[in-house]
């Protein structure tokens, strides 16, 4: 694809942005990383590229914005078809991958966010909720090396960025995800062996420091 211009509007700590970074890396696509400062103000560029949700990540391909991380990952898979297929080819397996991707979006993020935003009973409920979700995902993984089977793919990409936030959840929630979901952590380590993943994920300690700043800023200490 000659003369293709790819920009990723992103925020370094966003697990959703990381998904798109991983997909681009898997396909070997060169792109410009444009950092959006979400701690303070949203830039006019972001508001122009995603007027509906005003959120990152936004993948901008030849000037056309694609919003919503899993939609962007599918877009990348469809445009750059030749290399490293991300979704399986069988329609039923694709449906399963999409189903669990949707599950992660609806459940994992919210439980995780509540763990560092709340205390007491609400926090305990969120911890339980997160572990339940991760255990369901572990069940889906089974004894496969990746969610995609023999090869790393869409569902692996959908979930692995949350690993950057595990240390934060564990520290504020005072629990160990590895103790509850050892198989999942085994899978994380396998994914981290891939350069596309290790280079895309944010440093868990830096994420924790960011959350300390956010908690202070929003009076959540």
């Amino acid at each position: 694809m000659g003369g293709s211009e790819v920009i990723l509007l992103d925020f370094w700590a966003s697990m959703f942005g990381m998904r798109v970074r991983i997909a681009l890396a898997e396909k070997g696509i060169e792109y410009e990383f444009k950092e959006e400062d979400l701690v303070d103000n949203r830039s006019p560029f972001l508001l122009k590229m995603n007027p509906v949700h005003k959120k990152i990540p936004v993948l901008i391909h030849n000037g056309n914005p694609v919003c919503e991380s899993l939609i962007a990952v599918q877009y990348i898979d469809e445009v750059w078809k030749g290399k490293a297929p991300l979704l399986p080819s069988d329609p039923y397996q694709r449906a399963q991958a999409r189903f669990w991707g949707d599950f992660i979006d609806k459940k994992v993020y919210d439980h995780g966010a509540k763990i560092w935003k709340t205390k007491g009973a609400e926090q305990e409920e969120s911890k339980k909720g997160l572990i339940e979700c991760l255990k369901l995902l572990e069940g889906e993984l089974g004894d496969k090396p990746y969610f995609g089977g023999e090869s790393f793919g869409y569902l692996d990409i959908a979930l692995v960025p949350f690993y950057s936030w595990f240390y934060t959840y564990e520290t504020f929630g005072k629990f160990s995800i590895e103790a509850e979901c050892p198989t999942l952590i085994g899978w994380v380590k396998r994914c981290m062996d891939k350069e596309s993943v290790s280079k895309s994920l944010a440093d868990p300690h830096k994420v924790h420091d960011l959350v300390l700043i956010l908690k202070k800023k929003h009076g959540l200490e």
């Binding site: 509906v52 919003c67 919503e68 939609i71 599918q74 469809e78 694709r94 449906a95 999409r98 949707d102």
Partner: protein, 221 residues
């Protein structure tokens, strides 16, 4: 191999209705399994253990859940009479707006209809904003899919009968023709498509159902 297609649904679920439309538009024969959500069947619990919700499509014994995931599965399994455009960017756009319909538009419209007085006035602001976004998507088009019905029409199709039912129940005209001319026109031609027309739930039954729901909300204030 003989195809066995079952759709587990309730008589009123707008999410399930999308699937009925897709199957009919593609000319796929299917069996309906009507579910009573107050007393969920073993088949439903087995087919959708994660969410225990309808609709679920069971194809040759294999279940697919989440209506938008099911629509994509149907599209990829039965390739005649395509519902999605070929171009990856147009596809991404359809997916984005389908997601917007479920995550923002529908909830905001629903909130308007279950609220009273001041709360209803407040709820109108995001609902009208969301409707405006959708109105703009129809510019220069007959259907959201272009000349023909597409996946996005099916995703937003709940507006076609649901909104007029809710408007009758509350006496509040949400989709005013002068404010939303394109949406108003689309509602009429969408509802007139034969496969859509023959599939709706009985209007009087829907009115009673939503009247009861609205009364219940009013009683809790």
């Amino acid at each position: 191999m003989a195809e066995e297609v079952k759709l587990i649904r309730t008589w009123s679920s707008p999410f399930a209705l999308r699937i009925v439309w897709a199957l009919k538009l593609k000319g796929i024969e299917f069996e309906t399994v009507l579910e009573d959500l107050a007393s969920k069947s073993p088949l439903l619990l087995q087919s959708n253990p994660v969410h225990k919700k309808v609709p679920v499509l069971v194809h040759n014994g294999k279940p697919v859940s989440e209506s938008l995931v099911i629509l994509e599965y149907i599209e990829e399994t039965w390739k005649e009479k395509p519902l999605l455009p070929e171009d990856p960017y147009e596809k991404a756009s359809s997916r984005f707006w389908a997601k917007f319909s479920d995550e923002k538009l529908l909830p905001s419209v629903w909130t308007v209809f279950i609220s009273q007085g001041n709360k209803q006035e407040e709820a109108l602001v995001p609902a009208l904003e969301n409707l405006q976004f959708i109105e703009e998507q129809l510019e220069g088009k007959k259907f959201f899919g272009g000349e023909k019905i597409g996946l996005l029409d099916l995703a937003i199709g709940w507006m076609a009968d649901m909104v007029s039912v809710l408007e009758e129940v509350t006496g509040l005209k949400l989709i005013q023709e002068d404010k939303f001319p394109l949406l108003s026109a689309w509602i009429e031609i969408f509802a007139d498509v034969p496969e859509i027309k023959e599939s709706g739930a009985p209007r009087e039954k829907l009115i009673s159902k939503f009247q009861a729901i609205r009364d219940a909300y009013a009683a809790t204030k």
